[in-house]
């Protein structure tokens, strides 16, 4: 519990502008996101839509509360998005490693012709984003914020200090690039 308080304080400091607090907050926030994700489905199912976005918002409300300026909230979400991505990717990797063998009884797998295992797409997505950020970091960041943090285009614009229409345009081209990358990978 005290850990949680620590995190809250650190985050508040960071959101208010203390960059040093960031380094300390990140690992704690990561743990917190993981804990919330676990809880949501295990005990409190029913009150939450289970989406990355929702999860990030949940974490925000629990840890910081509502009384923070808009631009600072954006910062929080940006951090949470990055952590969320890492969280999910780690988990996908772990799952892949322990993937059950054949023989499992399938009642109905509606995507049996598609990428068979949930999580594979995520790993591909992660690889694609990393690759994209090599030659166009901003686009990669836009997609990351949107996919994993649930940030809207206006919010992304505020955060990156670019116009909303630029976000829209960049998101569109980046998505095309991503699709192509993923399709190529799937087909290869």
């Amino acid at each position: 519990m005290s850990e949680n308080k620590d995190l809250t304080r650190l985050l508040n400091d960071w959101v208010q502008g203390d960059q040093a607090a960031f380094d300390q907050a990140a690992p704690l926030l990561y743990q917190e996101l993981h804990r919330i994700a676990t809880q949501i489905f295990a005990r409190e199912r029913g009150q939450h839509t289970l989406q990355a976005t929702a999860l990030v918002h949940e974490a925000y409300v629990r840890l910081i509360g509502m009384d923070v300026e808009l631009s600072n909230r954006d910062h929080f979400f940006a951090l949470a998005a990055r952590l969320m991505r890492r969280l999910l990717i780690n988990h996908a990797k772990a799952r892949k490693a322990s993937k059950r063998g054949g023989g499992a009884l399938c009642i109905t797998l509606h995507e049996d012709q598609l990428a068979a295992d949930a999580g594979t797409d995520l790993l591909v997505l992660d690889a694609a984003l990393s690759r994209l950020s090599e030659h166009d970091p901003r686009k990669a960041e836009i997609l990351e914020l949107n996919y994993f943090g649930g940030l809207t285009q206006p919010a992304i614009g505020r955060l990156l200090n670019i116009s909303e229409s630029t976000v829209r345009r960049e998101q569109r081209t980046a998505t095309l690039w991503l699709r192509k990358f993923m399709t190529d990978l799937e087909g290869a």
Partner: protein
Amino acid sequence: MLENGEDSQGQRRPMTDTGKHWREVNALLEHALELPVDEREDFVRRTGAPAIAEAVLELLAHDRSEALDPPRLAGEIESMIKSIDDKASLIGLQIGPFVLMREIARGGMGQVFEARRQDADFEQTVAIKLLPGHRLNEEARLRFAMERRILAGLKHPNIAQLIDGGMLDDGMPYIVMEYVDGMRIDEYCREQALSNRAIIELILKVCSAVQLAHRNLIVHRDIKPGNVLVDAGGTPKLLDFGIAKMLDAGTDQTGEQTRTGVRLLTPAYASPEQVEGREITTAVDVYALGLLAYKLLTDRLPYRAEPTDAHSMERQILGTPAEAPSDALRGRDSVGDSTRPPDWRRHQVRALKGDLDTILLMALRKEPERRYANVAALADDLQRHLDNRPIQARSDNLAYRLGLLLKRHPVAAPVSALALVVALGAGTAFTWMLAAERDQALAAEARAVQTAQFAASLLSSTNAQQGGDRLVPVTELLDTASRRVSEELVEQPLVALPLHLALGEAYMSWGQNQDGVESAEAALALAEAAGSARDQGLALGLLARLQHNLGDPDEALRMSRRAFEFIRQTDNSSERTIMLLNMAIALNEAGHRLDALPMFAEAETAMRDLGDATDPAELAWLLNNYGWCLHALGRYDEALQRYDESIALLDGVDSPFDRALTLSNRAGLLRDLGQPKAALKGLEGALAVFQDMFGEPGDPSVARAHHLLSVALTEMGRLDEALDHSNRAVAMNRRLLGSEHRWLAYTLNARAGLQLERGALDEAETDIEASARIIEAQRGPEHLDNADIDLLRGRLALERGQLEDAIAALERSRRLAKPVAEFERTSINQIEWLLAIALASENQAEGRVLAREVIDRLSGRLDESDWRLRIKRAAIDLPPFNLEPSPEQASRAGVLIDELSEQIGSDTLRVRKLSQALALVESK
């Protein structure tokens, strides 16, 4: 090597690394995305360097893909978050009287658990399916509950019984159903190495389950291998009955699920109407059962798309007729093949060919109303097959497909359906005869069936005689068919009549014109006896084309006119119009363009008079051919108008084949109008469409597009590219049509001309003589086609300095072409001949005078802007034909050279020749 040259187009291209030029690619991509979809490609090609443009186009191709759409991604992320929680957390959850015991499956729709009832004295194991992402609103809950009650009433030994269903506190729907301890049907069939009979018996059981549901007005909507389990006792159980519908109906209408409803289904197993979001009927399940049987019997799906590529999969589901199972087995590898016995494929091909091909293709037709009327009918045919009784399905699917192909084929009039059947190697050949819809329209049902049965018996007996897969020579097949029609159908003239006609067409397209005449005359006699004006018209029209091929243009024309008289008499006005159009197309192709012209005009008027009742595709087809006729006659403006209208009409009806065809014709016209670059672009576009449609195996239309491109590139002096396309065209035609077909000869001619330009004289000679042999054999020595060959021989002899041979060949060519030369755009060749002859006989001055006469005559007829005419006009004013040109003549040539340099480049052959001639003048 070259033989396989075109195969590369079907392979996956290596990944382009867009990263390397990302900045440029990105900038161009952003611009392109601002434009309307149909302008993007032009813009990109125009603006970007080739490598950049290519990368951008590849990216744009993903603009419609759904692969990474937010819904799918959200689902992915969501399911990951859920799985972060270890599975144990849901185990032990109580739902109604049940407790979740273990997870047994997890998929796009949700998780499935094995669950047990708690009561001490009552043990029951069930499967519970949780369906997250389908949260229901109030109204939807009511519908969901209603559906659930209906489904709970559905009791059948082959249906996994729905036991209960409801909503968890958070509104997440769940379904409780009978627990089936079994194996997916496809895995089961493979593991047990079931015989085809056993597989079909399994499917029949599934059919009976579906029939029961249909009687209760319940459509499954999602039948596929993953939804059919076979238990230890070998009983198949169909799962998830009506769930798809229940969710569709039961989901909040404002929710995402409605919009992406189709995505719920596995695209590979969706029917065309599901892909298009059209009305769902029991025909959906007929289709899916056909697909299931297809998969179990062949290990393949009837599409060539990668299952992961949802977009192209959908396109194929909508647009590409299912491949016959036996063809799919023969033509495509599957990962599962390695687990099968070595001769499994060969055995299956033989076992599926015939009945099973026919049955499955009927179930898999695109149009719901053309499939089996119901599951019972499908099951009945499968049972008939098992009992060795004749099946009911008529493979007019194939016929229908061929009918479409026929209608759409560019220069296809002389290629009969039969020839196509044989060329395509399709198994169920002869029943195509019903295809021609015109036959069907008039033929009484009984007679049609009779014809089909007879035709089928023809084929099967031929097969039996030949045994197995040996390729039967076409002519042998035709002779057998012809003999049997004559001998066995004496008592049934109305059955024999369409068969004779079809045989005549077939003989003609395989160059057996004399045999064709016999068939056509037999048909004519029967038609006369029956007093059918229509059939007499058809028979005479066929005779006309045969006589033309036999080199008797007068007789051909006489027959055409007689045919026309009969066609006028037929009383069905839309049918008359179609026949009139066919006649006009035939005449046009035979080179009787002035005769064709009024018929085109009459058909056009008739179609337009019908107003909305006219099929726009039909009108577009007419305009395309009419345009071509006018084009060939040098009436460019009128031709362009018709091509343009045709393309506009086709834009509205989604028939890429016709559209590409018209585009390539229009490109030919642009070439004549002196816009070679625009022409080239049109031809490349058409080629891309054809390649896209036919893929790796290719098609004569792909070969033709390569051919046209090679001609255009030759003209622009881009000889290496031209040679590449030319080689592809030759190889493809040879592979698809054999080495005796005249279309091969045409592509050989083009390559010979190209080799002449390249100075590769020996290669040119090889092609010329190969082509000459084909034309001589197929068309006879007096046919117009020989004029092209003699022209090539003359040019070759000229290049080699063999003047006497050159003169002889050129004179022969000129004589052969004379009858048409008066009116033809191609009579520009006449100038070529005259000038070549003049050069060869060292009588340049006389050549010039004669050539000028022709040019003046043509000027009245051809468009003034025809660039080849302008080149000729300039050429005869320069050496060696005019050793002392006037200043005006020289400056006119100079202007033309500048213009051409701009258009096609200064180092092209034509420009170089003119420039050399002009330089000679200036040096004096």
